[in-house]
């Protein structure tokens, strides 16, 4: 068996080992990789940055712990940016396994700025059937959420004064890891026309650039790269920027393997041809 044939039959665990070794390097030797910002992420940042203190916007934390790695840095940065500017935030959760995690992150960031539930923000909690929830929130928040997550009637919350539905907020930023993004585009922006931006996982992001181009969303934060960009723009950093050195090295190894395996494939084919 030639070298190339051996390479073509390489046990996949060697590849895992290589990835594992290169991913360990940034954990031991800390270094930074420059990250450039893109217009689609800047637009989301500018949308929040240009709001005035007291303005309301809706933040959808529509993901579960499996997508935390990519999406939590976005949520952290956006919440910090909003609370540091004294904006009023209405937060909802359309992912059943994400509600506890969302509440944890929200209360943690709110505590940094001394923000109080009911006065500075409203956490609506979780309701199933995203399409129906979005449609009813477009009519009246109180239809689906008569009480907030903590069991307080929405009518008694100061933050909800004068806010009846999604048309009364400046816009919606949805951080999501599933088809909830489609539902926000279809039933939210499509039905009611409010400004919508989304933050999605890397796997999903290629599917949503078309909506950016058509103007159905005004901004897009794609995966961990988008999260890192947002951290640079807002100055509130968690694991987004930290992940980039890991990404860079792992991508370099994957590229190397793709090149080697292609060379191996063509070399083996050429030999067979002889």
């Amino acid at each position: 068996m030639t070298f190339w044939e051996k390479l073509m039959n390489l046990d996949r665990r060697w590849i895992y080992l290589c990835i594992f070794i290169v991913v360990i390097i940034p954990a031991i030797i800390s270094f930074k990789v420059p990250v450039s910002t893109t217009p689609e992420v800047k637009k989301v940042f500018n949308f929040i940055d240009e709001m005035q203190p007291g303005d309301h916007f809706y933040l959808g934390i529509d993901y579960d712990p499996s997508a935390l790695a990519e999406l939590d840095p976005m949520t952290y940065a956006i919440l910090n940016q909003a609370f540091s500017k004294d904006l009023k935030v209405i937060i909802g959760c359309l992912s059943q396994f994400g509600v506890g995690m969302a509440e944890l992150r929200l209360s943690e960031v709110a505590a940094i700025y001394g923000k109080e539930s009911g006065i500075d923000y409203c956490f609506l909690g979780y309701r199933p059937y995203p399409a129906i929830v979005i449609l009813t929130m477009g009519v009246d928040f109180r239809v689906t959420f008569p009480l907030d997550y903590y069991g307080v009637p929405l009518d008694s919350l100061e933050v909800m004064n004068g806010i009846r539905n999604l048309m009364d907020v400046k816009g919606v930023v949805d951080i999501t890891a599933g088809n909830v993004a489609d539902m926000w585009i279809t039933y939210g922006n499509g039905r009611f026309g409010f400004p919508l931006a989304i933050g999605v996982t890397g796997v999903m992001s290629a599917d949503y650039y078309q909506y950016l181009q058509s103007g159905q969303i005004f901004g897009l934060i794609p995966g961990i790269k988008g999260a890192a960009e947002y951290e640079i723009l807002s100055g509130f950093e968690t694991t987004g920027l930290q992940s980039i050195p890991y990404q860079t090295l792992a991508h370099a190894v994957i590229l190397l393997f793709i090149i080697i395996s292609n060379v191996g494939y063509f070399a083996a084919r050429r030999k067979k041809g002889r």
Binding site: V203, P222, Q242, Y246
Partner: protein
């Protein structure tokens, strides 16, 4: 780090390692972690549905005398008759209602957002390279899916450009998928690194 936090984080690190052990081969540690997740998720979801749906929308509404809710409650109960051979016909009313409502809500907005808005986004002036690429890419990709004519000659060239356009899209999707998967790994490594540093008092 408090003792309780340390215990929880130790458990999280151990479970992370259990899951990663699958990369070597299937083993009892991985199976344990997998089944633990499934069990916890099922329990969590059941209680969530009870508190967010059953209690709020069934128990409390009935207690508060909101009798209009009896209609959806009856339709919901109707769904459960699927388990009975004798009474399963009742579930057809619930399913018909559900499908009817879903279709009525979805068809118009889907047509608007997924078709009309997307088509109108391709009706653009040919005044930039981006716009030209969009129009050429969309048209050629659509030509590729035209199967009632052999893909030969000029038509073949156009459909070939279409398949290249699709491949570029798939490539971008694959690249972003790799980025997403590596992000999950990186986040776990960052978490374990933080745990080790906290354990040795360097974090």
């Amino acid at each position: 780090m408090t003792t309780v936090e340390l215990l929880w984080q130790t458990l999280a690190v151990l479970l992370t390692l259990c899951v990663f052990s699958f990369l070597i081969k299937d083993n009892p540690f991985y199976k344990f972690a997998e089944r633990l997740v499934a069990g916890v998720a099922a329990g969590f979801w059941t209680m969530l549905v009870y508190h967010n749906l059953f209690r709020d929308k069934v128990l409390l509404t009935m207690q508060n005398g909101q009798w209009a809710y009896i209609i959806p409650i009856l339709l919901g109960i109707g769904m459960w008759t699927r388990f009975s051979k004798k009474y399963s016909w009742i579930s057809r009313f619930s399913i018909a209602f559900y499908i009817g409502i879903s279709t009525g809500i979805s068809v118009t907005v889907y047509m608007y957002t997924a078709i009309f808005k997307q088509i109108s986004a391709t009706i653009i002036p040919l005044n930039s390279i981006t716009n030209i690429l969009i129009i050429v890419g969309v048209l050629c990709a659509l030509f590729y899916f035209f199967f009632s004519k052999a893909h030969t000659g000029a038509f073949g060239v156009v459909s070939r450009i279409g398949i290249y356009t699709l491949m570029i899209g798939f490539g971008a999707g694959f690249g972003l998928t790799v980025m997403g998967r590596i992000a999950l790994l990186a986040q776990r490594v960052i978490f374990i690194r933080g745990y080790v540093l906290a354990l040795i008092g360097a974090g």
